[in-house]
């Protein structure tokens, strides 16, 4: 693990940034940006997550193999989402539009 000891000042700074970003994401939710609402929300969440990983989890001061593990996890999740959606996005028929919920008693 890292021998580098991160100073409490850095931690508090990161915490305050996370608070600002939380406020920002809530504020952005009240503005109608159409399809960009989700983009902004995920972008802000990803920035927050990156700060936590880099500083709270010491990834910034960790050996290369730790970076490889993090990148692999994120990459594999992206592959699962992207390739599955690639099937749905290219289908002609929208399953949801086709089916009607059966009134189950």
């Amino acid at each position: 693990m890292s021998e580098h000891i991160v100073s409490p000042k850095v931690y508090v700074g990161i915490f305050l940034s996370l608070m600002v970003l939380t406020a920002a994401t809530v504020a952005a939710a009240y503005v109608n940006l159409g399809p960009f609402n989700i983009v902004i929300a995920l972008a802000i969440a990803s920035v927050k997550a990156t700060l936590v990983v880099l500083y709270f989890m010491h990834a910034r001061y960790s050996p290369k193999r730790t970076h490889m593990v993090i990148i692999a996890a994120v990459f594999w999740l992206a592959v699962m989402l992207a390739l599955t959606l690639s099937d749905y996005v290219t289908r002609d028929r929208d399953m949801a539009a086709d089916t009607q919920v059966t009134k189950v008693s």
């Binding site: 693990m1 409490p8 931690y11 939380t22 939710a29 995920l42 709270f56 594999w76 999740l77």
Partner: protein, 243 residues
Amino acid sequence: MHRTGELYGQFETLEQQKESAALGMWVFLSTEVLFFGGLFMTYTLNRHYYPVAFGVGSNTLDLKLGGLNTVILILSSLTMAMSVWASSVGKRKQTTAFLAATLALGSAFLGVKVIEYKQKFDHHLVPGYHFQIDYRVQHPAPNDDPKEIEAEKEELSKAFAEDPDLNAHAQLYFSLYFGMTGLHALHMIVGAGMLVWLIRQSMLGRFTPTYNTPVEMIGLYWHFVDIVWIYLFPLLYLIDRHR
């Protein structure tokens, strides 16, 4: 429990032991990414299919409580990081104090979740036979704000017009809500258990600048659980808030 810094038999050096623990925890966290990932995939698809129902469902969540929980959890990540720092500079009392603060904040988070879940139960929003998305507007409680109920009634009638199967689709949203926050809460409970153990070890003086591996490792786990919530909060609480 083994004593401070004792070398396990299979390792050659303490350095190797620390390296292994760290790599092991990071690899474990990568499995958790994929584990939650399946739920995120399900969420993505269902939100794409049923945007109206997801908006309606999200608006029934109490944003104040959700926001409060987000602040609580991120603060607990700060106190957890501080406990790692304190143990690495040999401050035993501060280590214990920060760990205790983390545990307290984590418990507060779980307490708020219980309140939220109870609210959902009262409003018949738990998936199952009794699920009814418009239960609250049809049976308002005496202390419910009538203006709020009126606004929700209007929102729901608009939503039903857009999506006749709103009830079933909203049930999907709530299945995901309970599934994802429930799995997250389960992880927090495990984390809380580990914090209890850590606090005891810290009080017994087990952690020193040369050996604070358990604090670091459980810290990694705790931060990961925080990151999951960082994504859950906007995805579950902040859909269509501008309506």
